[in-house]
Structures are given as C-alpha cells and as structure tokens.
C-alpha cells in the first residue's frame, strides 16, 4: 500500500495534536478538526489476546490475534486496537511490532484498507 493511501489510517487533531488510529472524523478529546497523518512505523504491545470466535462481519476467520498497541512516536502516539499478523512467534506485552497498511478484497468497489501489526524478530 502506498504512503499516500496509508495516511487514511491515522489522523491528528489540528488543535491539540492528539493522534488517532484508525482516523476519526473529529478529535475525541476537544472536538476539533483532524488532518490525515502518516501511520507510525512501529508500536509497542500493551496487551494481546488470541481470538477463537470471530464476530459476524469480520474479514478474517478465527483464530487470530489482536493487541492493544501504542504507536512509538516522539510526542506520544495513539493507543489503539489492531490485528496482529500470525508469524508463529508469540506476541508478548512490551514487544515492539511494525505497523503496516494492508488491503482486503471484499467484493465492493474498493478494497478495504486496514492496519496490521507485524511482530519484529527477537
């Protein structure tokens, strides 16, 4: 996914600077307008779970892993929930992951764009 498309995945408040992943229409804290920003390259795992029953409407089938992440940004990144790519390696609290934009074909006019966390080796 090219960098321009990936900016649809994150936003930052034009007034207070708070970041959001996925992008929000307004700032949840102060209600101001937001602008698209680049997704951080990496994030830290704050919590994780492996889901064995998927909810209706999910693009993936269970089991799959999700994690609470915090973007590694100099001024403090967004805390958000994301799908974690299965690499066979355990996902542990405190580990760092790479953030990537991915697309899924859904049969609609345009592919669905989402964030995936990829565990880093070691």
């Amino acid at each position: 996914v090219d960098a321009a498309l990936a900016t649809h995945l994150a936003s930052a408040c034009a007034t207070c600077g708070r970041r959001y992943v996925p992008a929000r229409p307004r700032c949840a804290f102060c209600g101001s307008a937001v602008e698209p920003v680049a997704l951080a390259a990496r994030a830290r795992v704050l919590a994780c779970t492996r889901v064995h029953r998927a909810a209706r409407g999910a693009l993936m089938t269970a089991p799959y892993t999700v994690a609470w992440l915090q973007e590694l940004e100099q001024d403090g990144g967004s805390v958000f929930l994301a799908l974690v790519q299965d690499t066979g390696a355990p996902v542990v609290i405190g580990a760092t992951v790479a953030l990537e934009a991915r697309t899924w074909e859904t049969g609609g006019d345009a592919p669905f764009l989402g964030v995936v966390a990829v565990p880093e080796a070691g």
């Binding site: 889901v51 909810a55 999910a58 693009l59 799908l83």
Partner: protein, 369 residues
C-alpha cells in the same frame, strides 16, 4: 441527603428467571417480573405514571409491545438502549424523575431475548468490525492479559473466580448458569479469547426484571446514583501508561462516595458487572473494595467486607442485556429486605452498591434500607 429534592424508594422488585425461551418475545417475559414488582410494592398497574423499558436488541416498537403486555395505557412509555447498561440507564432516568418530583410512581422494566452464540450488537460495516476487533470477549481477553502481567495473577486463579461465581448461582432460582464446578472445569471449557475460556465469560440469557420506583415510599432507598459515558483522554492514558485500571468506574465511585458520605466499608453487598472472570477483581479495585492490584486476592479470599454477586452475577445468572441492571437491583433488594432465601447474608446488609457497565458507559447506584 437525597440526590434530588425527594427521597427515591425502590418499593418493589420482580424477575422472570433467566434462561432460554426461544418462543417468547420481550412481551412474553415481562408480565411475571412486573406482577411480582407491583405485588411487592402493593400497587396496581394503574398507579404507574411513566414506564421505562431497558432493551437493547428487540425490534422497533418494543416499548409499545411491553406496555400492551403489562396493561400500561395512557402513560408515557420509553425505550432506553445502552447495550448492557440499558436496564440500569432506565433505572437512573426513573430515579432522576422521581427524585426531582416530576413523578410519584415509575415502573422500570428490563427485558431481553438474546439468542445463542456470541453477544453481538447487530451487524455493521465499521472498521472495527471488518478488522475483527468487535468480538466482545476479546476486550476481556486483553484485560486479562494485562492483569496477569501487571499483578502476577495466574490463569488458574482467574478460573477460580469464575468457578465461585457459578457455584454462588446454584442457590439462586432466577440464575441460568448455576454450575457446581471447579477451576479445572472452567479451564477445560472451550477457549474463546485467550486466556479466557467459555465459563469465564457471561453466557447469554433471556430474561426480564422490574422495579417500582416511588417518591418517599416504604422500602429501601436509592441514596445516590451516578452515570456517564466512557471518556477517553489519550494524553492521560498515555501519561499513566495504558494498564488495567477502569478509570471511568473509579471516577464515578469517587463521585458517589463523596456525594453520599458512604464508602466501601459501609457497604455490605455489591453487584458488579462481571461479564468475565477478570472483571470481578478489576471492579473490586476501581470501586474501592480492594487496593490496586489486590482485587484478585480479595476475590479469592472473600472474607470480610462486602459480599459480591450473591446470585452468581453475570457469569452465574447469565447476561440479558436490558434485564441485567434490573436483575442486579432485584438481588440487592432481596438481600437488604432479608428475602434472599438460602443466599441471605447474615448479618442482613444495610447498604448495597450496584455497578452496571454497558458499551460506552457505566452506572452506579447506592441503595440503603
């Protein structure tokens, strides 16, 4: 001290036992709960001035169907939807009206027909749903992973919390999941969201519960209540480090205790929103019944202080979105009135705390006799 200008009384409560009733719509469940509540209050349906119906999953027009089923005519009937907190939000609005002197007698009904499988709040095409982030058990799986990491808890200890909840429900005729089970049984049930197995997550139940709220009547009083939507202050979360705290509940509890002058040591029984095993220690901490990081020890120790979820709570009673908050009030009311049968606490508690959590918000109530 009253929250509004007038004392608010819970004059009567009633329940339709939680279970699976696939042939019953909401209108088929409410009658038994309402009749029991009106009977305890010594009132007829014609005394009711307004009705609030807590219901999350029912069809459009469900309030009218409930009103017709219970014979509530020529009065306002309102449906309240706030997912798992639908019933408690209906109760809060009724308490507000009575406390303000707008109404003298209000009926609150919570009802839900849930179906089976995962709890889902309807199909949508949101980013979160598409990305598999909305299966509700995963939120508790995440919290459990945090709690285990932060507090040194074990998976077996969390399973024991669930086993005790199921065993407490054995003595509650209105509970769906009274199971005489062990932590090993809990761990052996199917995995849903690691580390949580099926018996560590509240199962769906169809059910109804009701309460008659009156101005300055006979019966236990609602001394105070507090409710708010979840707030997210990313800066604060980041500054504190995202951890296992339930910040909104901490905020609401502190507000309620300050306003009423009543604290955790004064409360003999609590109903808290244990939608998963890990929720009990988390909420014991955020409600002030245990120090931070000590909730699990408090859950497993179980001696002294407030008794928790004497009818099994959401895990043991089952979860029936719109009815759950009123079922919590039902059990507290019975305990305060000395009418809880084999579950009755000795000494009979003077004060109880109700904590209800729904998607986006929480409600707390302090009830005293």
């Amino acid at each position: 001290m009253n929250q509004g200008a007038h004392p608010v009384t819970v004059a009567g409560v009633g329940i339709h036992p939680f279970g699976r009733f696939p042939q019953s719509g909401p209108e088929g469940l409410v009658g038994r709960a309402v009749d029991e509540a009106l009977g305890r209050a010594g009132l007829g349906i014609d005394a009711i001035q307004e009705v609030f119906v807590g219901n999350a999953l029912g069809p459009g027009g469900v309030a009218a169907r409930v009103a017709e089923a219970i014979g509530a005519f020529r009065v306002p009937v309102n449906r309240i939807e706030q997912a798992c907190a639908s019933g408690s939000t209906a109760l809060r609005l009724a308490a507000d009206l009575v406390g303000a002197g707008v109404r003298d007698v209000v009926l609150v009904v919570g009802v839900e027909t849930m179906g089976s499988g995962l709890l889902e709040l309807g199909e949508d095409t949101s980013y979160q749903t598409r990305m598999g982030l909305t299966a509700l058990p995963l939120i508790y799986g995440l919290k459990a992973s945090q709690y285990i990491e932060a507090c040194g808890a074990s998976e077996t200890e969390l399973a024991e919390v669930a086993a005790r909840a199921h065993r407490r429900a054995v003595g509650a005729p209105h509970a769906r999941f009274g199971i005489d089970c062990t932590a090993e049984d809990v761990l052996a049930s199917p995995m849903i969201a690691e580390p949580l197995t099926r018996l560590q997550l509240a199962g769906n139940a169809d059910g109804a519960a009701a309460a008659v709220i009156t101005r300055d009547g006979a019966g236990p009083r609602l001394r105070g209540w507090s409710g708010a939507m979840e707030w997210h202050d990313p800066a604060e979360v980041i500054a504190a480090g995202w951890d296992h705290r339930e910040q909104l509940v901490e905020f609401l509890a502190a507000e309620l205790y300050e306003r009423t002058g009543v604290g955790p040591d004064d409360i003999g029984v609590v109903q808290l929103n244990d939608a998963a095993s890990v929720a009990e220690p988390l909420y014991l901490e955020s409600l002030g019944f245990a120090a931070r990081g000590d909730g699990l020890r408090r859950s497993l120790d179980g001696r002294g202080g407030a008794a928790v979820n004497t009818d099994g709570g959401l895990l043991g009673r089952g979860h029936s979105l719109g009815a759950t908050g009123l079922a919590m009030l039902y059990e507290l009311w019975l305990q305060l009135q000395g009418d809880a049968g084999s579950r009755q606490l000795d000494p009979r508690p003077k004060a109880g705390l109700l904590h209800s959590h729904g998607l986006g918000g929480d409600n707390l109530f302090l009830i005293e006799r």
